[in-house]
Symmetry: C2
DNA sequence: CTGTGACTGTTAGTCCGTT
DNA sequence: AAACGGACTAACAGTCACA
């Protein structure tokens, strides 16, 4: 259950930011936040509020759900399941 | 831009909760939160932190991205575009 | 069972600077 | 450009009485 996704959300924000080639400082300014705070979020040391994350996402031109989808992907990658191959059930052709 | 999604996130949580037929009281207890705090979130009067939302989502057996996808849907519905009726071009029946 | 205002302690979030 | 620290203020977490 209780996997703390905070660091993954931070990484997701970082990845999304780097894609736009904007600095933390610049993003922070545009989102109306402090640069040290954005740093703390990306490093997974902070527990940001809904509004803070929304502002960040808005400035990165993504919706919040995209951030969390990415975060969950990142969390999933680290959760090394035993590489179970997806078996596609062949469809009975009738 | 700056559409405040806080109330939509609250509604999303409420919808997700009602789907499971559990009371605020019950959910709050299971998520380790206060009953009135959950109420405040659902009513959009609170600006919850990432961790608060994560606890709630976990108890509702959904991922946070699902919450935000629903929230965005709700926000879209309320964005009443000028009631533009979708005009389906009637297909000439011959 | 749920909504709200008010309250306290904690933390979110800022601003300074250093590495 | 980014991580990190300290001191600071605004806002949130968490709770209660009451509606």
């Amino acid at each position: 259950m209780g996997v703390d996704i905070t660091p993954y959300v931070g990484t997701a924000f970082r990845l999304l930011r780097e894609r736009t080639e904007v600095s933390q400082e610049d993003l922070a300014f545009r989102a109306g936040l402090d640069r040290t705070y954005v740093s703390g979020i990306e490093c997974g040391r902070r527990n940001p509020s809904l509004k803070s994350m929304q502002h960040l996402a808005a400035e990165l031109s993504v919706s919040l759900d995209q951030v969390f989808i990415l975060a969950r992907k990142l969390a999933g990658q680290t959760e090394k399941l035993p590489a179970q191959k997806r078996v596609r059930k062949p469809r009975a052709h009738g």
